[in-house]
């Protein structure tokens, strides 16, 4: 297995899918001449040409709206929203158009659209450019929401998303493109809506995804030195949400910490905790604990920003609290 970055894994998935299927094309701000603001589509324009690598105006509604229209008539577009903060500008298309076409017309229309975007804080971009609003999007039936935590999953899930007949919001983390990991050789897909145990243990169950997985893995290494072995369940998809591995793990460890980068109110942790209680209340030996961002628009100041964001130490402390 090769060790590559998250950026390379995502880029490879796009490249391979475009090679495989001529109906796959990408559109978005700076995806072509610039090569992608996170350099994910570098070299694509030269290889695939302007027809399939389409620079757009800074007009998010057009980027996603046109993607929906093209998908409805048989193409397989990948609409790139530069950051998830700009997804609000295209909110109607993401939550109100794409996920409802199939239902509302009695199954006549399919929208095989992927919306790629990057979220997350920690880069001193201020409050409007540093958000993790994943739970908002996962609220809507009809949309699939995927957010990988490793290069292997990023590649496999993006390929699955492109081949999926429904709209998929694919959320990357802007601060994770340099994260490295092993990626299998050859063509493979990772199923959407299937959680995965990323690390086995018996002390506490950590349920997490995306950047939270990185924090949790680092926390697990520290805890292991103290003899505490945590089990880490990576959700990978927020909708459909597979609670199977998390529940099985909770029934084994009887304790859970949920780690996410978004705000806790109405968030992923709130959802997961409730589902654990609903399905396995009798197994709880301690209240389920959430680790998340402090409830404030993120400040620009680096120290303040880091203080507001969840850290490895917060995960370590939370695990010890439920033990």
């Amino acid at each position: 297995m090769a060790i590559i970055t998250m950026r390379q894994a995502i880029s490879d998935a796009l490249w391979e899918e475009m090679e495989r299927d001529p109906k796959v094309f990408i559109l978005g701000e700076e995806v072509g001449v610039w090569g992608g603001t996170y350099a994910v589509t570098k070299g694509f324009l030269d290889h695939f040409g302007e027809k399939r690598v389409r620079d757009t105006p800074i007009a998010e509604s057009a980027i996603v709206g046109a993607g929906i229209g093209a998908a409805m008539v048989g193409l397989r577009p990948v609409s790139e929203i530069m950051t998830i903060n700009f997804a609000f500008v295209a909110m109607d298309y993401i939550v109100n158009e794409a996920p409802k076409m199939h239902t509302m017309f009695g199954g006549q229309m399919k929208v095989p659209l992927v919306i790629r975007t990057a979220g997350g804080g920690g880069r001193q971009l201020g409050a409007t450019h540093s958000q993790t609003p994943d739970a908002i999007f996962a609220h809507f039936p009809g949309l699939k929401v995927v957010s990988p935590g490793t290069p292997e999953d990023a590649k496999g899930l993006l390929k699955a998303a492109i081949r999926d007949d429904d709209p998929v919001l694919f959320i990357e983390h802007a601060a994770m493109y340099q994260v490295r990991g092993e990626v299998p050789e050859g063509d493979y897909t990772t199923p959407i809506g299937v959680s995965k145990v990323q690390r086995e243990g018996d002390a506490v169950t950590i349920v997490t995804y995306c950047k939270g997985l990185q924090l949790s893995m680092a926390a697990a290494d520290q805890l292991s030195q103290e003899g505490i072995e945590v089990e880490i369940v990576d959700l990978r998809s927020l909708r459909p949400l597979d609670m199977g591995p998390a529940l099985a793990s909770f029934k084994k460890t009887n304790r859970a910490v949920i780690v996410e980068e978004g705000w806790p109110s109405y968030g992923v942790g709130a959802e997961v905790a409730t589902r654990l209680y609903e399905a396995a209340f009798d197994y709880a030996d301690a209240p389920v604990k959430r680790v998340a961002q402090k409830e404030v628009p993120l400040p620009y100041n680096a120290a303040l920003e880091q203080f507001a964001l969840p850290q490895v130490a917060d995960v370590v402390a939370a695990v010890k609290e439920v033990l």
Partner: protein, 323 residues
């Protein structure tokens, strides 16, 4: 494209059918059998009938929520339209869409869309689909005057010019966006002038109550687009005789204005034209009126006798990709 007598009679049939279906729908609404909103097309029949009569089968049509007329024009049976209004399983959208969401993809009719202006970027994407595949179809996107004041309009129209897409922007100016007259909502009253700002050729048809004039204007616009010159913007002046939707008290317009427009009833104009030009006799046309009465009565009976969708079908159309 000259019309034979049978073609004229078919168009007259469609216009009368729209009128009668709408009148019966209003009654069904008053009787509490139709829920939600009901936006009637009465008064605008020459527009949709004229458009559909000159489009080629490869030309896609998409419209806003005032969509019953177009549904009948493209050949969706009256029984499937009325069944949809009643929310029945036999409705064109299987009871999932209702009044505002009728489509028949097989007939290249891509539906009524209910968020004002949102279908414009989607139409651009559909036109991109044809351009991408090298097809010679034109996407005809119909919308009201009110839709030209929302951001979606500008993003969609701009993108169509930037990418030289084969799309006909067809503004059906019935002079009111809900209860707000054009001059109270739009900085320019001549809506087609908005296309000037995007370098798109444009024109206005003052008499949209005359189907023959609609056919001529739309035919010329489609020829323009099909010759590879990119998008075209056509504004057609028309008038809705009823309120914005059922339950609209219409306090915003004077009785005189409504009476004046009713004198230019598109069905009356077409009737007089056919008789005067000796294309059809009044007896021919009366026969159509009677046939439509029977057709609509049977359609209502069919719809009322149809089953509601079963509870076991609730999730049937949420996702296109089945596990």
């Amino acid at each position: 494209m000259a019309l034979k007598k049978k073609d004229h009679l078919e168009l007259y049939h469609q216009m009368v059918l729209i009128r009668r279906v709408e009148e019966r729908s209003a009654e069904l609404y008053q009787a509490g059998k139709i829920g939600g909103f009901l936006h009637l097309y009465i008064g605008q029949e020459a527009v949709s009938t004229g458009i559909v009569s000159v489009r080629q089968p490869q030309d896609r049509i998409i419209t806003a929520y005032r969509d019953h007329g177009l549904a009948l024009n493209v050949g969706i049976p009256a029984k499937a339209v009325i069944a949809e209004l009643l929310g029945k399983e036999t409705g064109v959208s299987k009871g999932r869409g209702g009044s505002m969401h009728m489509a028949d993809v097989e007939k290249n009719y891509w539906g009524g869309h209910a968020i004002v202006g949102a279908h414009l970027p989607i139409a651009a994407g559909m036109a991109l689909g044809d351009q991408y595949e090298g097809n010679d179809g034109v996407t005809i996107c119909m919308f009201g005057d009110g839709a030209t004041n929302i951001g979606f309009f500008h993003e969609g129209v701009n993108l169509s010019k930037v990418w030289n897409l084969p799309v006909l922007w067809l503004c059906e100016n019935n002079q009111y966006g809900m209860g707000t007259a054009v001059d109270r909502a739009s900085a320019v009253e001549q809506i087609h002038m908005k296309a000037e700002g995007y370098g798109i050729p444009h024109s206005r048809l003052e008499d949209g109550m005359d189907i023959m004039k609609v056919r001529e204007a739309v035919g010329a616009a489609l020829d323009h687009i099909r010759s590879g010159k990119g998008p075209y913007f056509l504004e057609i002046m028309t008038y809705r005789f009823e309120g914005h939707s059922m339950g609209d008290p219409q306090r915003y317009r004077e009785k005189d204005e409504v009476t004046k427009w009713e004198e230019s009833d598109p069905i009356g104009i077409y009737n007089r034209y056919l008789v005067k030009e000796k294309i059809a006799t009044q007896a021919d046309l009366d026969k159509i009126d009677q046939a439509v009465e029977t057709e609509v009565t049977e359609a209502v009976e069919f719809a009322e006798a149809s089953p509601d969708p079963g509870f076991d079908t609730l999730f049937d159309y949420m996702y296109a990709s089945k596990e």
